[in-house]
Symmetry: C2
Subunit: 338 residues, 2 copies
């Protein structure tokens, strides 16, 4: 059924890339653009976007496309920005929905403040991935922070966000931020041991016990780059997907990081199943109780470069995020392994 109301965007939206972009202006014919758009969609409704969710086949969430604002390819990945009628602007990377203006607050705020509010006085923070800038924006709210490093391999991604999502990419305006255009593993190898209080990893697909990262040196390098009692936060699966074996995940992470391990989750309606989890670990050192935000960030606090107060996070939501349904109830491995 052709959606009668869908007006395809005129070919006038030309994105002027820089920094080595291989972006192409959106000047193709309607048919060319539709074909490329449709290749991302499974199944297909003209004028609507959906992402295929391979971990939970047989369901898909469609968003009505008001206008495609940008399409391009860097040497690493393909990107699309469109205006949706329900979620504001949407960013799509290699066919997968990355964020929407409507609900990015939940993901960015929780991924940042869950780790940073769990430790006293964070000063040095590393973000790996997260090129959109939203986590930088959130780190910026913490006045104790003196140094914010970000490793993002794809400059085109940064520039597309700066162009189309200025309220998210605003994080780059913080003068404490240094951008490192380099692979995260390469960067970590060069970092002196014990440099960071917190490392936030926003570059993997959701993590589970059989994730390839456990076989690679990546986590060892992260652990080495953290000070004793330093913390890592990484995106970690929806609790509704059967592939999440949280006890196994705990055991693997305790072996790697040797401190606390905990699992939290938040709601992001544009993501498959509407929720996404976070894995929080600390290195050997002072005990970190992730459920207790000892370094709270209140509504009265300074915003840093963010233009608005927190939309989603607060200390109550922080603690509540660790309460899991009975079907994923965590067996506390601290007792078992100690």
């Amino acid at each position: 059924m052709e959606n009668e109301n869908f007006v395809f965007p005129p070919s006038s939206m030309i994105f002027n890339g820089n920094n080595g972009f291989s972006a192409r202006p959106v000047t193709d014919t309607k048919e060319d653009i539709l074909k490329e758009h449709n290749d991302l969609v499974h199944p297909n409704i003209p004028g609507w976007f959906s992402e295929y969710c391979p971990v939970w086949p047989g369901q898909t969430h469609f968003l009505k496309v008001e206008k495609i604002l940008f399409q391009g390819k860097s040497k690493f990945q393909s990107m699309m920005v469109f205006q949706s009628s329900a979620y504001g602007k949407v960013f799509v990377l290699d066919g997968a929905l990355q964020l929407t203006e409507k609900d990015e607050c939940s993901y960015q705020e929780m991924m940042t403040h869950l780790p940073l509010c769990s430790i006293p006085n964070p000063k040095k923070v590393l973000l790996i991935g997260g090129g959109d800038g939203g986590i930088l924006r959130e780190i910026s709210r913490h006045s104790s922070v003196e140094q914010i490093d970000i490793c993002e391999i794809d400059t085109m991604l940064i520039d597309v966000y700066k162009e189309f999502f200025p309220d998210i990419a605003v994080g780059y305006k913080d003068s404490r931020v240094t951008v490192h255009i380099v692979d995260g593993t390469v960067f970590l190898s060069s970092v002196p041991r014990g440099t960071y209080d917190a490392i936030i990893v926003d570059c993997f697909d959701p993590i589970r016990p059989d994730h390839e990262v456990f076989e690679s040196p990546f986590f060892e390098l992260v652990s080495r780059a953290l000070r004793p009692g330093g913390v890592i936060c990484i995106q970690a699966e929806s609790i509704w997907f059967r592939s999440l074996h949280i006890e196994e995940l705990f055991i693997k992470c305790r072996q790697t990081f040797k401190g606390s391990v905990d699992y939290a989750w938040t709601i992001v309606p544009a993501y498959p199943s509407g929720v996404i989890g976070f894995l929080l670990c600390s290195t050997e050192g002072p005990y970190i109780d992730f459920r207790n935000p000892i370094n709270p960030i209140g509504p009265e606090g300074r915003y840093g470069v963010a233009k608005e107060p927190l939309k989603f996070y607060n200390s109550e939501v922080h603690s509540a995020a660790f309460c899991l349904p009975s079907f994923v109830k965590v067996i506390d491995t601290r007792t078992e392994s100690s």
Copy 2:
């Protein structure tokens, strides 16, 4: 795009209704059934079901249909049961997804145990709507309960659930249950004042401050049927939808019920936006702190007629359900109005 893998159900599935059903056997042609099915779908993919979400246009969630198991119409409403590939069996009422086998645990357990675990020793419980039997199943876990009344107007709905969802309709097997086939308002009018410890209302579309129920005598009748310090739980909107003005809802409910008012939510991935809320109120009398489950139900407890332990609810999740994102943070009206 015709979905190549979709095999339309053979016409062999004949449902034998009783109790005044106007059910019709599913013996129509493929074309007839598809047309009726498609009338429920907006937009349309053959072989997939989606519900149109009028409170949040521009998005829709599709479920792949493996087989339509039942279609019929009572004198009140139309019903469909289908086997989905992602969520197990799905029940659809007048085109709206009611529940799925995959995630019904969250809705039914939270809607039942949030009120019943908040009061000591509940003995008499009334369920209005909830004809599927899942809330009855959950009430059945409470050994203090002596009397369970259910008002369900549509016997066909009950019978369809008994036929296709025996693990949900199992709630009817509890000997404490009395089924009243009557409109909820009519039933409430006949109930002596102060009869019930708890009333669970599972028959409205999500409630918001401008909901017509506030203009009707329904809430007054519920309040009258509750003992002092008795509690009501009612389905109440997704926090992601702008129509939810939670402060207004609080004020209206405090005026009506005169005791505590609180708002909780849970995750149900098959529902629009993946979350649904609950409004909890108590009548004037002993103070009820809904956030504190003083009448806990543990994994070691008896199951009643349920065949399995709790899948979703636990005391931690109970308290966490009241922690709201900053964008819907509740102003405590207790202070303001006292």
